[in-house]
Symmetry: C2
Subunit: 278 residues, 2 copies
Amino acid sequence: MAADTSAKIIDGKSVAKKIRDEITAEISRMKDAIGVVPGLVVILVGDRKDSATYVRNKKKACESVGINSYEVCLPEDSSEQEVLEYIASFNDDPAVHGILVQLPLPLYHMNEQTILNAVCIGKDVDGFHPLNIGRLAMRGRDPFFVPCTPKGCIELLHRYGVKIKGKRAVVIGRSNIVGMPATLLLQREDATISIVHSRTKNPEEITRQADIIISAVGQANMVRGSWIRPGAFVIDVGINPVEDAKCARGYRLVGDVCYEEACKIASAITPVPGEWVR
Amino acid sequence: MAADTSAKIIDGKSVAKKIRDEITAEISRMKDAIGVVPGLVVILVGDRKDSATYVRNKKKACESVGINSYEVCLPEDSSEQEVLEYIASFNDDPAVHGILVQLPLPLYHMNEQTILNAVCIGKDVDGFHPLNIGRLAMRGRDPFFVPCTPKGCIELLHRYGVKIKGKRAVVIGRSNIVGMPATLLLQREDATISIVHSRTKNPEEITRQADIIISAVGQANMVRGSWIRPGAFVIDVGINPVEDAKCARGYRLVGDVCYEEACKIASAITPVPGEWVR
């Protein structure tokens, strides 16, 4: 695919491998120096197949770098109180350094806010606690943890040597898990930010002013080539299924950004989800 | 002054009076209905004259609407522990509904973060606690309190019937107390926001795209007429002294926005600080 495009394809997989190697070395040093091995607990409630896959992948990722991982799988009909008791015990457990509650929870009988707020902020590795978000927003404060997807976006910018300070950045989407924290992170790096969302009247005009585009909106191919300033650095977080009879599954995955058009204009762009194999 | 300008002058004093009247009525109703009178504590450490003036004005404002106000004046050399003990006692006092710690604190021997974080968030009427800021940033969450200056800016937009949803808004400045929370508030109202700050390379170009401008940067007359889109609604939070031999004090106050130029282009603008007398 790369042959007929002008944009560099951002190779997230290779960056991820490099980061995992760095973490492996760091954990090994930490174990030698102070005898501590980081521990992550993942709490899964119910038996959603996609959630089980995510949890399995997290476990694998932990194993590959030397993090101890613990899994708590609770039945769908567990009470909110039971989940809260597990969280309280992990909050107090010195062998546990991070607690992830896999979302979505079975919401008809438990309150997501109540449960997420129960994780002590020093172990809130998801970074979704409002206290962590508040610290992320404030100058002179630092969050304990930063939500992983926007942190990954900024990491790609850093690893590709993109200067952020003073650059125009547009974040498309303002979700609590990607768009909003991505904005706060870019702000901390002194980008000049505009936020495009569903109520924005002229998203194309605003997006075209950006040196850096992060899209996390969940709309297949919404960002067309004409939205992109020549030479922009484009990170597409969207993973959207579109019908495609030619695919065995009956659908294929595309991003928020129309890749075929964008790759002729951007200086660098993340690949179509699942298509980039080294 | 209004005669030779095209912009409407935003009359914050009259809006403030109307709000005070509404609050007076609400407090009276509350007293009758549930027998509760709101109580505000202001904690002042040291003897800065400007701080004493601010505290006196808050006391007066409370009295004028029927809020019970309590003042704690501590000597400059009070320990951090003493201040924390006062805060703890007010956190537990059911007659106290709001706690304001007057800033700046004498910082050489106490930590501002430690002290502000000690105020329980349900009584953090300043809205500066990171948990309140986090809740302000997150969709689906609500802060207990919102910082007063940005809240006042949004209130002016509402009271002047300015539609915010879908409008382009530029916030100039990104301080924890005005710029950043103003951005989060405008975001909650579905404006499309750009944030201009000291590292922004083309502030004039970006500002000129805005239907709504909120400036809180502390730079005298920085925003020139050419920065303003014809018809924009301009709220200037800046209060900056500039030397002026013609004034008895040797200086006069100006905003961040060059009023003489802006008033010919904006549809509405806040007056030069201190100059607007009905």
